[in-house]
Symmetry: C2
Subunit: 210 residues, 2 copies
């Protein structure tokens, strides 16, 4: 039943804690792997090539598109972001559950390419809490925070296209909820067509003399 890994897409509002949750899933359970995105944007201080992103040129990225080496890609504020297909497919076939932490356009493209993907949207319990968390970081101006909240307003319109909505009120609960949700998705009947076919064949075989 649980042979092939699950492709998991995690998105969420700014301040939803999606980064922390993804990191904890990877730390605590050995079945998860993180897909590293390719991007044409410049590395920020402390970002490591091959760990945070694969930093590539625009020409290199467009070559990946042309060679169909990307599972999904989007262009956002003048830069490309995309998911290299090879690593994801290899990990899934080894039974690992692969996490993509990406924005919604990429999420829906990934779902198109992999209809079995599980799309999870993480949200704080309220917009007030979104604001408080962004404010509490003390790293962004009020203007930038308002921009992020406007982006949140836009994202709220498409949450219903995700499979699951997880409220990150208490981070421990949220981590466990997401882990369980991913693991339970392996029991969905759409993922178990092969097993059901095996049973059908066994019934036919068993009953052929009756």
């Amino acid at each position: 039943m649980k042979n092939k890994g699950v492709l998991i897409v995690i998105s969420g509002f700014a301040g939803s804690g999606k980064g922390t949750i993804t990191k904890e899933l990877l730390n605590r359970y050995d079945n998860y792997r993180l897909s590293v995105s390719a991007t044409t944007r410049n590395p920020r201080p402390q970002e490591v090539d091959g760990k945070d992103y694969f930093f590539v040129t625009r020409e290199e990225f467009e070559e990946m598109i042309a060679k169909e080496e990307l599972l999904e890609y989007t262009e956002y504020v003048g830069n490309y972001y995309g998911t290299p297909k090879k690593y994801v497919e290899q990990m899934l076939s080894e039974g690992k559950d692969v996490i993509l932490e990406i924005e919604y356009i990429g999420a829906f493209n990934a779902k198109k390419a992999f209809p079995e993907a599980v799309l999870i949207f993480i949200t704080p319990p309220s917009v007030k809490e979104v604001y408080n968390r962004l404010k509490g970081r003390n790293t962004e101006s009020e203007d930038v925070i308002i921009k992020r909240i406007k982006r949140g307003q836009e994202e709220a319109e498409i949450i219903d296209k995700y499979d699951y909505v997880i409220v990150n009120d208490d981070v421990e609960t949220a981590i466990l909820d997401i882990h369980n949700t991913i693991q339970c998705s392996k029991c969905s009947s759409v993922r178990n067509g092969d097993f059901v076919n095996k049973l059908k064949n066994e019934f036919d075989e068993f009953l052929k003399n009756y």
Copy 2:
């Protein structure tokens, strides 16, 4: 997020252990309630009215149908079986998760009446194991066992209409898988339209001056 209870339909092959699993869910977790079916068939020895079934006459059952007091009903081998609506609706509104342990025709009727219902099909890992478990009970003749396996062959054709397939290889694992599956279904985005609408309103309110 987790206010309203989930309607859970549990079905499975003879020998799947669905009865044991249902009993354990009810014993271990206080969020579950079992829906008691009404039937026109005669009580078996040790069956208790109001606990195993509500035993009613054909006239009484048909009155329940006429008054639309049943969530679903089917006629099977000359007898009616059905789920009284009132208890189920009351428990769901109190946030309890209500289990119906019923056959597939009833299951699909329940899904029609309650599209949010979670349909779970329980199966042993193989048909050989179905046979071994039925044989191991020492309560049924070979003829009856073969009849049950023929019924299983029929059921195998409709498993894909269930939401989840749970393999009961190890009963402890199966109980936990089913419990987690039910609880995770509460995070599905289709069940959380109200919460998402609340967020949308909060974004609009927050941003109205920007």
